[in-house]
């Protein structure tokens, strides 16, 4: 199954909002990377990734988010993450990625931070 179908993209005030509706294990992580690479190719600058419907994330998916955040910053943009379940927050904290990518409690607060 193509998990990109469970990654919905919309736009608000020039900010791309990617809503993930599938767990981000190794299988879906490669699709997440493809979607994020697509945003980079489109020259997107501001991206919010909403993980409210994700109950599992592995290091490959975290790495994809970190990598794209770093590349967006090089061009003056950024990627922010919002609405993480507790276990996802623990994974980000364990890896240390929460010091690299900005994490917000709500989508509105992530949007407002741009």
């Amino acid at each position: 199954m193509d998990s990109t179908k469970l990654m919905k993209l919309r736009e608000e005030s020039g900010i791309k909002i990617l809503e993930i509706k599938t767990d981000l294990s190794s299988y879906a992580a490669s699709d997440l990377r493809k979607v994020l690479e697509g945003l980079l190719a489109e020259k997107a600058e501001k991206v919010v990734v909403n993980l409210s419907q994700v109950s599992h994330i592995n290091s490959t998916a975290v790495g994809a988010l970190v990598g794209v955040a770093k590349r967006l910053r090089q061009n003056g943009g950024d990627l922010k993450i919002c609405e993480l379940a507790d276990n996802l927050t623990r994974t980000f904290n364990l890896i240390g990625a929460s010091s690299v990518v900005e994490i917000y409690e709500s989508e509105n607060s992530a949007l407002a931070a741009f």
């Binding site: 294990s25 299988y27 490669s30 599992h56 592995n58 790495g63 970190v66 990598g67 507790d86 890896i95």
Partner: protein, 151 residues
């Protein structure tokens, strides 16, 4: 609850990791692990199996073997890859390679976190070269810790 010794073999492809993660999650939950700990166990299995697919049994046809043992005190999982036909990838997780990965790990790196996660979240983490020319990774999760006792 009887002790269990379960053996699984999956094709070496990430597509098959999710069903394994789901099965082990259900098993851990039924063994009495707390919800947070079940999530830890599932993450560790995802990371170990992903490494086995990407670095160990690169040829999808050779597969990955899992041996799962459980009793009233612990859940033990052994993930075995067979190494690839390319000799460079045999025994990919040697002690030297492990040291290198650990030394180079950084939060801003995109990769190299899987082993760190597995070591951090399991009670026992062991690696060794196996007879098939691949790598065995064994993790144990102990049940009888105060944080694991269901409320």
């Amino acid at each position: 609850m009887a002790n269990a010794d379960i053996k699984l073999k999956i094709p070496s492809a990430v597509f098959y990791i999710d069903p394994v993660r789901a099965f082990i999650g259900t098993l851990a939950k039924n063994l009495g692990f707390a919800r947070k700990r079940v999530a830890d166990i599932q993450l560790v299995i995802d990371e170990i199996c992903s490494n086995a697919v990407h670095h160990g049994s690169i040829d999808a046809t050779v597969g990955i073997k899992l041996q799962i043992r459980s009793d009233a005190h612990s859940l033990e999982i052994l993930v075995s890859d067979t190494g690839s036909r390319d000799n460079k990838e045999k025994h990919w997780l040697t002690p030297e390679r492990l040291s290198e990965i650990e030394a180079n790990r950084s939060p801003s790196n995109e990769g190299g976190h899987g082993i760190f996660i597995a070591k951090s979240l399991s009670d026992t983490y062991e690696i060794q070269i196996n007879a098939a020319g691949g790598t065995d990774v064994r993790v144990v999760f102990k049940l009888l810790k105060p944080t694991d006792i269901k409320p």
